[in-house]
Symmetry: C2
Subunit: 332 residues, 2 copies
């Protein structure tokens, strides 16, 4: 019996928001694992804002996806064939497996995940790179500490929702910025944020003034654009601005930066970028702490699951339209 | 005999580059020092880019100058009358004395300078706030160390020329960005920079690529605008961008920031602002080290002196037109 492998490939580079014409669907026999390799049946594919950057020509912190290649994506799945003693059939693994149903990989490219501790797809979100981004960005780069006022953009997203909850656990005052009243209600009522700003319907600067009477010590920015400028106008002395992403600008051919950056001088503040992969060696420690908080009911995990690999093009757009809550995952 | 005091006042707030109509000249009797005060005869007035920011309504890191007030300026002069045992007639002092010939001040507002160690006006430049800005910005914020590639914008100015020379003394590779071939020649031939880029006539990005083969570890930015974006495109991993000023934007009503700021993420880099006044307690240490380097012939001081308080409006514009080399000073 030949297993058929559906794949999504990058057909052309987008100009702005990706459209259907930027993707092509392919179907062929599943690949055979070579010596020292395994075959993984992909169960869940992660949809991340960074993937939009990978579609552009020229590397940022990682090489671009070439036109014609299977779209790069983080994913989890089960080992269904193995040509190496290092990884047994039945193991649940996470890795850069691509937008496809079956992938061949070497054991060193995969991380075995513990399906008893948490559902496998949570290793793409709260226990995966998004959770690690929240943890290290907030604590290591942002140096958030008790009593700080922490503002988070993209606060209802995979990274932002975890960042805000960790900041609350650390004794910070937490204000989230998100799009729409439902998300804002969710942040305050379900996740325990001290306040939320609906950027689609409220004046961000006025609301920051109301919700952050001592100004902003840490800004964890996933969004960029106008929101970054608005928060810069409210930073406290020695503030830390953590550049985690700039989702508002990824589809903007005229990428715009923060015109208010001289607030860094006035407030002796720092803006710093980071790439979570640099923290690979410390992810075990962070994941253990996050898992403990989850088991104690102190940290909630929210996932938005879309089904079927055929849904990839439309599901991917939800990252930019904001029509989702928490971590966006494609169930294959 | 009544001494007459010529003063320059802010007549109106400028929109863009200041014009003659933004200034008014005033002449009246010199003020009388009150109890506990001294009268200073101003000899030299410092012309600094920050003064342009003080002319705008609304504070940045310091209160704005009010319309009708004597223009705020740092200056040096001699105590010619004293009503306090704390300061004797004949002392040479530095302080925020304003654009005028005579000023009344309290001893705690003044710093006694050593005219035997260096000419008094050097306490407005290399031994004053500009020198301190160079020292602490490069070493404390920029953390420049041996082997680093350091790029400086406004490199032929009061701050930039000292920054580059200190970086050379610390064993860095130093590249300056300045306007025009004469300034670039001066940086390399007289100040010992490893390279210079003429932003008026050369392609900054191409030249940075040639002169900084290992990319840029520290960027000391006095200029902002396009130059900041160009250098961001060439930063090295873990680079430090020191925001000292943004002279290219001070007269721009649509102040623009760095559109390339996502380089901070890609290169795990940091952009940080500072205000030199925060280092007041450590300035003695820095000035002693700079004076020692000067006495050993390792650090050159360059001043551009314009004479006559009437010349203030036109002299001030040289800060923005770039028609000067080193520290711009008005000799009263």
């Amino acid at each position: 019996m030949t297993m058929m492998n559906k794949q999504v490939r990058l057909a052309s580079r987008p100009d702005g928001l990706p459209t259907d014409s930027n993707w092509s669907f392919d179907e062929g026999p599943a690949p055979e694992p070579g010596e020292g390799e395994v075959l993984v049946k992909v169960s869940h594919i992660s949809l991340d804002p960074a993937m939009r950057a990978w579609m552009n020509e020229g590397a940022t912190y990682i090489e671009d996806v070439k036109v014609g290649d299977v779209m790069r994506a983080n994913a989890v799945g089960e080992v269904i064939a193995s040509n190496t003693p290092k990884l047994e059939v039945g193991a649940q693994v996470q890795g850069v497996l691509g937008v496809q149903q079956y992938a061949v990989a070497k054991p060193k490219e995969l991380l075995v995940v513990d399906a008893a501790l948490a559902p496998v797809q949570s290793y793409l979100g709260i226990l995966g790179w998004p959770g690690m981004t929240a943890y290290f960005g907030l604590l290591d780069i942002g140096k958030a500490k008790e009593g700080d006022t922490v503002v988070i953009s993209g606060a209802a997203g995979a990274v932002g929702s975890v960042t805000g909850q960790i900041a609350k656990l650390k004794g910070c005052r937490v204000v989230g910025i998100a799009g729409g009243p439902d998300k804002c209600k969710y942040l305050v009522e379900e996740l325990g944020f001290d306040g939320a700003i609906d950027y689609k319907n409220e004046n961000i600067r006025n609301r920051l003034g109301e919700l952050c009477p001592k100004r902003v010590d840490v800004f964890f920015d996933n969004v960029g654009g106008e929101i970054l400028d608005a928060v810069l106008s409210k930073v406290a002395m020695h503030a830390r601005i953590v550049i985690s992403g700039a989702i508002s600008q990824y589809n903007n051919p005229r990428f715009r930066g923060p015109n208010n950056y001289m607030a860094l001088l006035t407030y002796r503040a720092r803006m710093e970028g980071f790439v979570v992969f640099d923290y690979a060696a410390r992810c075990g420690e962070a994941a253990a702490e996050i898992a403990k908080w989850m088991s104690e009911g102190k940290l909630k995990n929210k996932e938005h699951i879309v089904k079927g690999i055929e849904s990839f093009p439309s599901a991917f757009l939800k990252l930019f339209s904001g029509e989702k809550l928490g971590k966006l995952i494609l169930e294959v």
